[in-house]
Each structure stands twice: as C-alpha cells, then as structure tokens.
C-alpha cells in the first residue's frame, strides 16, 4: 500500500493568485488598511486592530487593555449603552473583540452591503468613548468572572500563567493578558480612560476588511469615516522592558488537587518574526512541526508515544507572530505509572537524539507539502486571512512579510532547522514545569 502513494510528493500549481486578492493602503492620518477580496458569499468581516495590548500596559494595571476592550461595548457620545452590538445584531450580523499581548481587535461580520454602517460605528468609538462609573463597576465584575472561568477554575491555565511568569524575567509578556486578579480588582475609570487616550487613534490602528467588497469602495468609506479622525501625535513608541540575558534554568512545580492528569511543559525563549528577517522564525516554525506537529509521525510522538510508550500525548508549538521575543514550547503527558522526572529525562533524550541524527528528509517534505496545501485550504476562510494580516501588522510585520512567509517556509533546509534548534535549546533560557496533584499523604501530615 505504501508504494501506491510513494510518488505523491509533487509540487502544487502556483499560488500567486491568492496575493492578487489583497490590497493595502494608508490613510493620510496614518491609519493602515488591508482589503482581502472573497466574492463567494455576500458577507464582509470588518476589523480594527490597535497596536496596543497587555504588554503595553503601565505597571500595576495589568488587565486594563482587556478591561477597556469590554468597555468599548458600552457607550459613546453618539451611541447608547450596547447600541453598537444591538445595531449589528438587528442587521443580522455578529460582533466581538479580543485582546492579546500585542494588540486589541474589534470586529463585525455582516452582510457586505452593511459595511458602511459598521464602519461608521467603529470609527465613532475610536474617538468618542463615554465612560461612566456604573459601567465600570459591573464590567469589572464581568472580567473577574471571566478570569474565574478561564483561569481560576483551570489548573492547567494557572500552571501556564506561572510558566510564562517564570519565562520572562523583565518583559510584560510574563503577565497574563486578562491581568493579575489583585490588579484587576483595582482597575478604575481613570486607568481605562488613560489607556484609551494614549493608544486609540487612527495612526495606531490597522483596518482589515475581508469579503465581498471592492477595494476602491472600501478606501472611499475608510477615508470618509476613519480619515476624518485626527492622528494622535503623542502615540508612545512601543519600547517594552526587554529581557536581560537569561542565565539560569528555571523550574516550576505547580500542585493543585484538581489535576487529573499530570504533565510536563518546557518552554524556551525564542526569536520572533521580524520585518524582512523571518528566516530564523521560519526554521523554528518547521522545527515545531517536525517535533510535535503530528500526533503520529513527529519526532516526539514517534519516540515517546510509539517507541518508548511512556507518553499518551506530546506536542510542540511556536508562533513567530510577536512584537518581541516569543516562546517555543513542548508538552509531554506521561503514561500511567510514568513519573514526571522520567518523562522529562526521555524528552531531553529525544531532543538530544534529534540534534545528533538530524532531520528526516521525508518528514520535512511531508511538512512542506502540507504547508503548501495549507495555502489552498486557508483560502476557504476569509476570516482567518483577516486575522493573519491583523495580527502580523500589529506585531511589527508588513504586508510584504506576510506574503513572503510561505516561500520562506518552503526554503527552510535541514541544516537551518538543526541550527535553529541548537540555538534554541539553551537550558539557561528555559522553564521546565510540572503540573501535578499534591501527594495524598501530605494531607495526612496537615
């Protein structure tokens, strides 16, 4: 059977047409815009991304970027409380927003002929937000419940929070996007208003419009609604506290009685994609695929799940879309009866073996084939294309970088991967975490 499929590693037809569907322009006030055409359905996704996320928050106010995101759904000088979302819904659309380390983004998905309506409302809340004390109090309760739901009730989420805090010695990436609870409890109207006044302006925003639209018409609307908002000349440069040299391997042991399945996590500080300089990140992206991208054929899965049979699950992950240093991570969920220290030793053994043996060329080819095919499959979802551009452009990259990325991935060689891995796996830049339930006999001692 295998031979039947042996000749299939062909190259795909050229994919240049995908790029022709992307148009970019910049308004006079500095607001950047990207239009992605997809005329298969009469729908549009309209997004505004701000170059401000949790890593841009002032010390002591963790969570304010996300808190402000919630408050943007309240009222403006022209729109009543909740009116924006209600108007979107009454027009058959949906809307939401999300906050990350490097960006905050707002979006609506609606019939394409309602683009002007949502754009007018989004432009309104870029400059006319109206905060009132009542909204502050109830919405602060909402974000605290959100933290409960996402983090406090999940030992895995609490563990990840501790891992990041240990990974970043100085950078704000070490703080949770949603905020530390004690700081969230103290967030007030001034905190939100100051963050809004500092960062919400057209010259700190990226407009993404994707769907059944004409780029020239989008530009006309953007000039009408966003183009009239004055730029803020005082937008701060995004200088975050940078990481000092990392000199000591860190270990995190997190115990919680709610842990049903202990596991091991390892992260390394890793370079991110930089404009015009994405090769190292591309090699790391391929490395993550080689080590843990497939549940059956990746290096860690093959070694730990199939060969040694000491793990029930393994994975590796890396995202290069980040303004500052990113992380490269691996997870090993040990089989029943396998201790975490044994799992850790086997992980290290597998990584050492990988560096020693080098890359399996057939595996690399399969991954590249899937990355190429991924470009075809991705065209089925214009919304994910919109998110890809939005995240990249608020993380220091350009449209050209986004479009060059697939070819850069295809150009990654076996040597590139091994060089990237050798540079990455420095114990001094790593955190190793164990998540487990407390030993039951500790309860007896208490």
């Amino acid at each position: 059977m295998l031979r039947l499929f042996a000749a299939l590693l062909t190259t795909l037809p050229a994919l240049a047409q995908a790029e022709d569907l992307v148009t970019a322009f910049t308004l006079d006030n500095g607001m950047e815009a990207v239009v992605i055409e997809d005329h298969r359905a009469p729908a549009v996704v309209h997004m505004v991304w701000y170059r401000s996320g949790s890593a841009d928050e002032p010390p002591g106010s963790s969570g304010v970027a996300h808190f402000l995101e919630h408050l943007l759904f309240k009222q403006t000088e022209n729109l009543g409380p909740g009116e924006l979302s209600a108007t979107v819904a009454a027009n058959g659309g949906s809307d939401n927003a999300f906050t990350s380390y490097d960006y905050t983004a707002y979006f609506q998905r609606i019939a394409a002929d309602r683009l002007e309506l949502v754009m007018s409302m989004e432009a309104d809340r870029m400059e006319n937000l109206l905060l009132v004390e009542d909204d502050i109090a109830t919405e602060r309760d909402v974000i605290l419940e959100e933290r409960n739901q996402r983090t406090e009730t999940s030992p895995g989420a609490l563990f990840q929070e501790q891992l990041r805090a240990a990974q970043y010695l100085n950078h704000r990436y070490g703080l949770p996007v949603i905020g530390w609870r004690h700081e969230m409890e103290a967030l007030d109207m001034d905190d939100a208003q100051t963050f809004y006044d500092t960062f919400y302006a057209p010259n700190n925003a990226v407009l993404i419009v994707a769907g059944d639209v004409d780029p020239a018409e989008v530009q006309r609307l953007a000039e009408t609604y966003y183009g009239v908002i004055p730029a803020n000349p005082d937008i701060p440069e995004r200088f975050r506290p940078e990481e000092p040299p990392q000199r000591a391997e860190r270990r995190v042991i997190f115990e919680d009685p709610r842990v049903a399945q202990p596991y091991l996590a390892r992260t390394y500080l890793a370079p991110e994609r930089d404009p015009g300089d994405q090769e190292a990140a591309a090699a790391l992206t391929v490395l993550a695929e080689l080590l843990g991208g497939s549940n059956f054929t990746s290096v860690l899965n093959d070694k730990l799940q199939f060969e040694e049979q000491i793990a029930v699950y393994t994975t590796a992950y890396y995202s290069g879309v980040s303004l500052d240093d990113s992380t490269f991570g691996m997870v090993v969920v040990p089989s029943e009866g396998v201790a975490l220290d044994e799992a850790e030793a086997k992980l290290d053994e597998a990584l050492a073996e990988f560096l020693e043996d080098g890359v399996n060329s057939e595996q690399l080819e399969r991954i590249k084939m899937q990355l190429r095919a991924g470009q075809i499959y991705e065209r089925d979802s214009v919304q994910s294309a919109a998110r890809r551009y939005g995240a990249a452009l608020t993380s220091g990259l350009t449209v050209e970088d986004v479009q060059a990325w697939p070819d850069i991935l295809q150009a990654v060689t076996e040597d590139d991967v091994i060089a990237a891995a050798s540079a990455l796996f420095r114990p001094e830049a790593s955190v190793t975490g164990w998540l487990r339930a407390p030993e039951t006999d500790q309860e007896v001692i208490q």
Partner: protein, 435 residues
C-alpha cells in the same frame, strides 16, 4: 446513471445576492448525497454522518463506539497507524472522526490533485481498520486520560450529572466515552462489533462542497461506501426527560460554580419549532442582546456569559442553559434566571423583540454559508434533521411567518420556571440540593 435534483439557493442579504446551487445526487450504487460545486479553490470538503452514534453502544460496552471511532485512523489494510498517517500527511489530506450521541461524524478535506488517493486511503480506514492491539492500548489510554480529566472539570461534571438526572440508564444519561471501568474491559471483538453496528449504508448521510462534479462524486461515494454493510444495529427507543424542578449541588473545591440548567425541550419536527427557536433567540441565544445576557451579565455583572439552547436529540428533546458565577453569587444568579424564565412564560416577548429577532435571524442565515467546509456541514446536518433540499430557500420565510401570538403561546407552553432544574458544581453559598 446519476440522478440529479437541483435547488438554487439565492442568498439575499440586502441588494447583494449569492447563489449556492445545492444538487441532490443519487449515485449509480443508490447512495444519496447533497453537493455544491464550487471550483474556485482546488479542494473538496466531504462530510459523512452515520446516524445512531454512541447511543448504539451495546449493554455493558459503554464507550465501545467512541473507542472504535478513535481507532479508525490508527492503521488500516497493510498500513500501521504511523504508516497510515504518514501517507495521509504526504497527500495533505485531513480526516476527522468524531463520535456523538446521535451520530458518528467523518469529515474529510482533500486537494483535487490528490482526490483519488485520499479517498482510497479513507476507504481503507472505513472498511479495513486493523484494530491492532498496540493501537487499542494507546487510544484506550488516551480515552482514560480524558475521562479522568472530565472527572475533575466542573463543566464536565455539571453536564454529566444533569444528563444522568434527566436520562438515567439510557445512553443519553451516561458519558459517551464510557466509564473508567467499561473502557478498561473493552476488547478487540467489541470494537469490531461497534464498527459493524454503526458504519452501515442504511444510516449514512453525505454532503460534498468544492471542486468536484456530480458524476465524480457519485463514483467517489460508491467507491468509498459501497463495501460497507447494508444495515447496522437498530436505533434506541425514545426516552422521557426524567428531571424535575429543583437544584442539585455537586460539591467541588473551586472559586466559581459551573451551572447547567434546563427542562424538557421541543422536537425538531414540531410545528412550533420555529416559534421556539425565535423565543430562545430572544431569551438566551447566541448574541449579546438576549434577556439572560442583559440581566445576568450586563446589568448585574454576575457572569462572563450565559446562554440557553434548544437541544432536539433523536430520541428526546431538552431545553438547556449554562452559566458560571462566583460561589457567593450563585443564589442570586439562579433567582434572576428563574425570574426571567417566569417573566417570559407569563408575559411573552414584545413586538419589538420579535421584530429584532427576525431581522437578526434572517440576516444572519446567509452568513453561515461562508466556505466549503461550513456549507458541507450545514448540508449534512439538514439531511440528518430530515429537512427538504429547498429548506434553505424557505427557512427565512418560516422565521418571518411566526406571529406574536404563536411565540407567546409557545412561551407559555414550553417554559416552565417550576420545572427548571439547576445542577451546580462548586461551593455555592446558601444553595443546597432540593428533595
């Protein structure tokens, strides 16, 4: 010869219109499929559903169908699990196998240039799964790890507790993945039996969207499904919803309680289903404007999110909701939900609310058809629900036809605040199990 019945869906959203041409084809071998030809991207999304799902587990074999479904991709024909997956990866095809209580679902995505090889590989998985002992043990360990995690997850505990209170020993009442005990004892023979009980031609539904013609699809499904057995196991019996009004508290050490609430719901083929659907859109549906979201989150800050949903299963119907709130606010949250339930049952909706919900639902419907994958899922779901092929064209008219009288009558009949049961997992203050 392939028989084709074609319905042109005109998606009207304002002045712009899109056309989705849904064709019903019958393959030379007699299998029906719904197809949308869409050749602008060189791939196809194929969806298969086998009705019955994990509810066809035999007595004492709970979890067999779930485990079997997990093993379909773990080796077939002369290919071991790893060889099978390496082949799939080299084709850049993706296969997804999932077991639900009313269906086993298989989704495939493949490039036009690799279509024949991808289908040959998928056929191998469907018809010649190996169920190798090492694969069984590997997947069994994964299932058991998942069950252990669910045992300590408040949301999962709430769902499982509510389901058992509603359905007891019927398959709907227990975890479809099985129990630690049942999964531990499943044998290779049990998996083979599960396979032939579920994956049969008399219960399969097929849809495809993408770069493929009716003739190509007809040949493809005959090739893919032709060797499956003609008939599988009989469907389970209908089951009454046995849960009564009240509260169940499951103590669990966590700062925020997870709550599932609900009572009996409405069947999908009920004449009042559209009225109930609009009613739920206003009470607790997916958007931000619902009464529950406004009262519980926006006005009081009690939660991050609250939703309610009609759950018409094949053999029973539920009306459910979910919310999570701090332990000290559970009592207030329950009171607000019950009050809203009662207010809606007694007073119904306002003309404005009905109008707004209709505009929302009719405007949002065309937006669902936004990609080959999503459209294929919608089409196979419609077939499972027994909807006609022209449903996409009549659906918005059926929404618009619901009157204020209809919806308010249904509100009084469907919503019963005294029958609402709340299953609370956490350490709620001043809330105790009733009865």
């Amino acid at each position: 010869m392939i028989r084709i019945l074609s319905v042109l869906l005109v998606l009207a959203a304002g002045p712009l219109r899109a056309e989705v041409d849904i064709q019903e084809i019958t393959s030379p071998g007699g299998i029906t499929a719904w197809l949308v030809e869409e050749d602008s991207i060189p791939f196809t999304a194929l969806e298969l559903r086998f009705r019955g799902g994990t509810s066809l587990d035999e007595e004492g074999k709970r979890g067999a169908i779930n485990l079997m479904t997990g093993l379909i991709e773990e080796g077939a024909g002369d290919l071991t699990a790893q060889e099978f997956q390496a082949t799939r990866e080299s084709l850049a095809a993706s296969f997804e196998f999932d077991a639900y209580d009313d269906a086993v679902s298989i989704g495939a995505r493949f490039l036009t240039e690799n279509r024949d090889d991808a289908i040959a590989l998928l056929k191998l998985a469907l018809t010649e799964p190996r169920f190798d002992e090492d694969a069984i043990e590997r997947v069994r360990a994964q299932v058991i790890a998942g069950l252990r995690a669910e045992d300590k997850d408040p949301d999962d505990i709430a769902q499982e507790t509510f389901a058992f209170e509603a359905f007891g020993d019927h398959p709907y009442g227990t975890n479809e993945s099985g129990t630690l005990e049942s999964v531990a004892t499943l044998t290779r023979d049990d998996l083979i039996a599960a396979h032939s009980n579920v994956l049969a031609r008399d219960r399969v539904y097929v849809s495809a969207v993408g770069d493929i013609t009716p003739e190509e699809l007809g040949a493809l499904i005959d090739d893919l499904l032709g060797d499956l057995p003609e008939a599988g196991a009989p469907m389970p019996e209908p089951v009454p919803v046995g849960i009564e009004g009240g509260v169940t508290v499951v103590p669990f050490d966590t700062p925020q309680s997870s709550i599932i609430f609900g009572h009996e719901g409405m069947e999908r083929d009920d004449d009042d289903f559209f009225a109930a659907f609009i009613l739920n859109t206003i009470l607790g549906g997916t958007n931000f404007e619902t009464r529950l979201m406004q009262e519980v989150r926006v006005n009081r800050g009690l939660t991050y999110g609250i939703y309610s949903y009609l759950v018409p299963k094949d053999h029973a119907a539920l009306y459910l909701g979910s919310v999570a709130t701090s332990n000290d606010r559970v009592a207030e949250t329950i009171e607000v939900i019950r009050d809203e339930w009662r207010r809606m049952a007694e007073e119904g909706v306002t003309p404005d609310e009905l109008q707004t919900a209709k505009t929302y639902l009719t405007g949002a419907y065309p937006l669902r058809f936004d990609g080959n994958g999503p459209i294929a899922s919608i089409l196979v779901g419609m077939q499972m629900q027994g909807l006609p092929i022209d449903y996409v064209n009549t659906r918005n008219d059926q929404v618009m036809a619901v009157t204020l009288q209809d919806i308010n009558r249904v509100a009084g009949e469907l919503l019963d605040p005294d029958a609402l049961h709340f299953t609370v997992v956490g350490q709620p203050e001043e809330v105790e199990t009733t009865n």
